[in-house]
Symmetry: C2
Subunit: 283 residues, 2 copies
């Protein structure tokens, strides 16, 4: 089986998508930063359930990294990524250079309020501006019918949904369940930074979140339950907890016990920051 | 001759444009805030030189008015506007309510840097955020091939061009020459606020700008020439001058004598704020 066609210019991307569209084919997009793992593969599979063609963008977007963050060491492994995309059945890999996405004179920023409030934004203030701007650009470049985003980055999924509704972007946003290892650890490109002992600790994140979500669903006090979860993460070996917070599932407004909720967390293992989230059933 | 079809929902707008597109017709858009005058009519005529169908949006966009500005008194006259559009040959008028453009939960803002710096932004700090956001939305809603904007709002034209380039919006932006009365007064919906004596004064704005641009093109000192122009406006009867500034024609970066330039001004007549601009030829 052939691997995906690789293009690095917007012109070539548009030409291919236009040809597909003229042939009556639906086009799905999976935006990624590369370092592809089973989670990304599942996004491509879901994309191909909804469209005949799948474009995967691989672009480590500098505008969503703060100067102190891991832009330079973020894993880049294009050959391996293309192998994975071939196996997953993706048709086109769009691998633009930074200068193709942000040419000289670039001066535009999209800010999404609402679901971007708090959580990641408290610790990465410009992160969602970077995400919203690059996602809008990718959608304008590729003009997909739909795009698939993982629930692993749950707040990002909510922000992208809000972005598309607010700017009337004609792209259906599909959320995809988080892929986990046998111990429930969410697949993440940043897991590559972890040693074996750290992986053991990292696996406790989802266990503690699931247990806390269950407690919240069955009547536990919100402040006590999330505070206990943060303590449990430290006891499990995490060095620092950025947040463990319950929110409403769609708007990320403050949690209400009688509605669908989401429990979200971010915590540090050494110099690696992990995030995860789980459903809270309405009580 | 029939007037334009009037739709107030995005759904109806998209359905009409989709039908045209299926029929192989090119679609142009003219975004307006209504209170249409000869300047707008010229935009529609230019649109129809470039496309078989013309959509005109009429939407007094609240997000580009500051709380102190004239949102409530901005002239609204839909029946007259539709007469003008019929005469101009526009095919569709899109007249959304505020709730159609900004439904509950709306939370997204587009900020364009670069050409938005200074000039209008010094006096209307949120103006171009409002313009950029609504223009992006209108383009996503109507999906036109091209859109026509008047040079009267010259900084706006530069900001919209930058917006489209930066976000890869697949819309060609066409700038249209300012329509003026026999005395050179630029057509503007806000001229309706002016009494007869004020109109006489307003007509001096373009005269003073043309004269100053000529002086700049033939070697005058920039600071002196623009300062003299501001003084001349006050002497002519304007109560206050917000700015008279020379800039580079495309980027609106600081003026350079050997490049195409633009001389831009904003000044107050009573409670009415007028803007205008003229070309500066390279020296």
């Amino acid at each position: 089986m052939n691997g995906p066609t690789v293009v690095d210019s917007v012109t070539a991307l548009r030409a291919q998508v236009r040809d597909w569209r003229r042939a009556g084919l639906r086009v799905a997009m999976v935006p990624t930063m590369g370092a592809l793992h089973e989670g990304h593969v599942s996004l491509v599979r879901i994309a191909l359930e909804r469209a005949e063609r799948c474009v995967v963008s691989i672009f480590v977007n500098p505008t969503q990294f703060a100067p102190t963050e891991d832009l330079d060491k973020y894993p880049r492994q294009l050959a391996r990524d293309l192998d994975r995309l071939r196996d997953a059945g993706a048709h086109l890999a769009f691998t633009p250079r930074v200068s193709e996405m942000y040419p000289a004179g670039f001066a535009t920023k999209i800010s999404v309020g609402g679901p971007s409030g708090g959580l990641e934004t408290d610790f990465r203030p410009s992160f969602f501006d970077g995400v919203a701007t690059v996602v809008a650009k990718l959608f304008m470049q590729a003009a997909p019918d739909c795009a698939v985003f993982g629930e692993k980055d749950y707040q990002q999924l909510c922000v992208v949904r809000r972005l598309c509704r607010d700017l009337d972007l004609p792209v259906e946003i599909v959320g995809a369940p988080t892929v986990r290892d046998a111990h429930g650890l969410a697949m993440s490109s940043r897991n590559a930074y972890l040693g074996e002992a750290e992986i053991e600790i990292a696996r406790k994140l989802n266990v503690i979140l699931r247990q806390t979500a269950e407690e919240l669903a069955t009547g536990a006090d919100e402040t006590k339950a999330t505070g206990d979860a943060a303590k449990a993460l430290i006891e499990a070996g995490f060095q620092k907890v950025d947040y463990v917070t319950a929110r409403q599932a769609m708007t990320l407004a403050p949690w209400q016990r009688d509605r669908n909720g989401r429990l979200l967390a971010a915590a540090w293992l050494g110099t690696t920051r992990l995030i995860d989230n789980v459903e809270i059933l309405p009580g």
